[in-house]
Symmetry: C2
Subunit: 342 residues, 2 copies
C-alpha cells in the first residue's frame, strides 16, 4: 500500500504549529526558537521527511537535471564520454537523463521534445548519423535552453561545441602511413552525414594531395553501421579488388579491429603487406595482435568539458545574462603501434 | 536573455478567455467550442507552448522518470544492460536518470538519497563492490518505492531481482574444463563482497568436489578492480608459482583477455598447455586470438526484464495495490571456443 507522504503540513499538524514555522525551522532560520527547531527536526527525521523536488522545482525553476542524447550507449567512445559527463555532473550536484537515439533522426526529435517538456536545465547532444535536418535543434536554441554539442555536431547551429580537429588528426594519421612507405592508401570512412566522418575523409584527401598521391574514389569505402563486420567485409573487398593497396586508414578502432581480423585470418602480414591505422584509441587497440596504431581522442575529457560549458550557460541563463557561445577544440595524439611500424 | 515562458495564463490573457478554457481546449474537452479550441491550439503552437512537467508532476504525483544506479558505465556488461533498460523505458515513455557509483558505497548512498528526493517513480540498481551495508536500500523499501535489483544484488533485501544462476553457470564452465582434461584448475575470482563473485567461486568449488579434485586455496586469486591488468598479473603469478596449472576459470571476459595477453606474450599455448574460460560473452571474446570460451550472460534482456518488473511495481503502487516481489533467473549458455578446445 502507498504510504502517506510526510509533508510540511503533516509535521505542522502533528506539532500544532504553522507550515511556515516548520519550513523556517528546516531551513535553520533564526526567528524560530531552538526548542521548536529541535522538535521539527526530530519529527522530520522520524517520519523520513524529504523535500519534494517537484515543489522545489516550481519555485526555483531549476530541475538540477540535464539531458544527454547520444547515438548509442554500447560504444567505447560514448560510454567514456558519458562517464566524464556524469562524473562532472555529480561534482556539481546535477543529475543526468540519458537518451539513446539509436542513430535515428525520428527518435532524436522525439527525445529533444521530451527533454524540453521535462524542463531540464540544459541539453548535451551528439547527433545521430541520420541527422541532416536541424529544426528540432533550432527549437532548443529558440527557447534559449543551455545547449552543448559534442563529437557529431552540426556546423550550422550557433551553440557551444566540444570537438576535436578531425581533419587535422586524420591528415596526421594518413601522413604517418605515407612516412612509413605506403604508396596506395585506402580509406574506410564513416556514414555520409556526420560532420566528423566528412572531416576525417577530407583530412585523408588533403594528406594524399600534399604528398602528390592521386586520390582514387574507388579506394574509399563507406560504413553504414560503423561495425566490426563492415571492417572485415571491406578488408576482404580491398584485398580482392585492389591487391596493391599497402595502407588503410579506418574511421574508428572498432572497424579497424574488423580489418585486422580479416587480414590475420588470411595471413596477410600487418604492417609488412598492409599497414593499418584506426581512430579513437579504444582500450582494446593495445590488446589485439598486432597492436593497433590509432589517434587518441580524449573522450572522458570531452564529457567533462561539455558539462562545464553547459554549466556556464545554465548560470548565465539563471542570471538573465546572454549565453557565451564557446567552441572548444581538444587535442588529439597520434599513437604508433605495431600495425603501422614498417 | 531568458525568454518569458508561455504558460496557460499567457495564452488565456492573449485570447481574453479563462485559464480553465485554455486547459480544456488543449486537452480536447468537448465543452469548448471548435472555434475557441482552434484559436488556442494555434496560439499555443505559435508561442511554442509545452506543458510544464513540474506542474504536471505535482498533480499526478508521477515523474515518468526512473533512476538507475550502476557501478560503472564503461563496461561492456553494464552498458548493454543500460541499453536494454532505456530501450524498454522509451517504449513506455519513461526517462532514465543514470548514476554511476564508481564501486563506492559512500557515493551509492548519496545517489539513493538524491533519487528519493527527486521523486523518481522507481529505482533499478546493481550494487557497488564495496556494498556490505544495506541501510540505504532498506530506506527505499521502507518508502515503498518500486525497486528492482539486478546482477550484483543483496540476498538480504526483500525486493524484485533479475539475476542469473551464477553458481550453476560457474560450475558448468569448470566442469567443461574438467571434461577437456584439465586436472589442476585455478580460479581468478571477483572481489569479496558481491554476491555474484561469491556464487561463481562456490560454483567453481562445487565442480571440483563433484569430480574429486581437491580444492587448493592457493589457486584462487582475488581481483580488486576486475581489470585487464589484474588478469595479466595473475596469469604471470600462476605460471611462475604453479607451473602444473592446466586450466583457468576467470570471473569475467575482460580479465580473461588479460590472462590470454600474458600467455600469448610468453608463448604458452592455449588451450594445449593451459585452457582458459571467461564469463559474460563480451563481443571482443570472439575477436581475440585464441577466441575465448565463455558463459553467455543475457545483459540486454536483463535490462529489459528489470525495467518491466519495475513497471509492474510502479503500476501496483499507483493503484494502491501491494507490490508483488518477483525473482527472475535468466538462462545462461556455455560457449565453447578455441581457448578451451583440447
Amino acid at each position: 500500500m502507498k504510504e502517506k507522504e510526510t509533508t510540511l503540513k503533516v509535521i505542522a499538524e502533528k506539532l500544532n504549529i504553522s507550515i511556515t514555522t516548520v519550513s523556517k525551522a528546516l531551513k535553520n532560520y533564526s526567528d524560530v526558537s531552538p526548542t521548536t527547531r529541535e522538535k521539527v527536526l526530530e519529527l522530520a527525521r522520524e517520519l523520513h521527511y524529504t523535500p519534494n523536488s517537484f515543489a522545489v522545482n516550481l519555485r526555483t525553476k531549476e530541475s538540477k537535471t540535464i539531458g544527454l542524447i547520444i547515438p548509442e550507449v554500447v560504444h567505447h567512445f560514448f560510454s567514456s564520454v558519458i562517464n566524464g559527463i556524469i562524473a562532472e555532473a555529480e561534482k556539481n550536484e546535477y543529475l543526468v537523463i540519458i537518451l539513446q537515439s539509436n542513430e535515428s533522426l525520428e527518435l532524436e526529435k522525439k527525445q529533444v521534445q521530451l527533454l524540453i517538456n521535462k524542463r531540464v536545465d540544459g541539453i548535451i547532444m551528439s547527433l545521430s548519423n541520420e541527422s541532416n535536418d536541424d529544426d528540432h535543434i533550432r527549437e532548443i536554441i529558440h527557447r534559449n535552453i543551455p545547449f552543448v554539442m559534442f563529437d557529431k555536431i552540426s556546423k550550422m547551429i550557433p551553440c557551444s561545441k566540444v570537438i576535436i580537429d578531425d581533419q587535422k588528426a586524420a591528415s596526421a594519421a594518413v601522413e604517418h602511413l605515407i612516412t612509413v612507405g605506403c604508396k596506395k592508401i585506402a580509406h574506410i570512412r564513416g556514414p555520409v552525414n556526420p560532420q566528423n566522418a566528412i572531416d576525417r575523409f577530407l583530412g585523408y584527401k588533403k594528406a594524399l594531395e600534399k604528398n602528390n598521391i592521386s586520390f582514387d574514389k574507388n579506394l574509399v569505402f563507406t560504413c553504414v553501421r560503423v561495425s566490426f563486420e563492415e571492417g572485415y567485409e571491406f578488408a576482404k573487398q580491398i584485398c580482392k579488388n585492389h591487391p596493391d593497396v599497402d595502407g588503410i586508414f579506418v574511421i574508428t578502432d572498432l572497424v579497424a579491429v574488423g580489418v585486422l581480423a580479416y587480414l590475420n585470418e588470411n595471413n596477410i602480414k600487418v604492417p609488412e603487406q598492409i599497414a593499418v591505422i584506426g581512430f579513437s584509441n579504444w582500450f582494446m587497440s593495445q590488446v589485439i595482435k598486432p597492436k593497433l596504431s590509432t589517434v587518441d581522442q580524449p573522450s572522458y575529457e570531452m564529457g567533462v568539458s561539455a558539462f562545464n560549458l553547459l554549466l556556464k550557460e545554465i548560470r548565465a541563463v539563471k542570471e538573465d545574462k546572454p549565453k557565451v557561445i564557446e567552441n572548444l577544440i581538444l587535442d588529439t595524439q597520434l599513437i604508433i603501434r605495431e600495425s603501422s611500424k614498417k
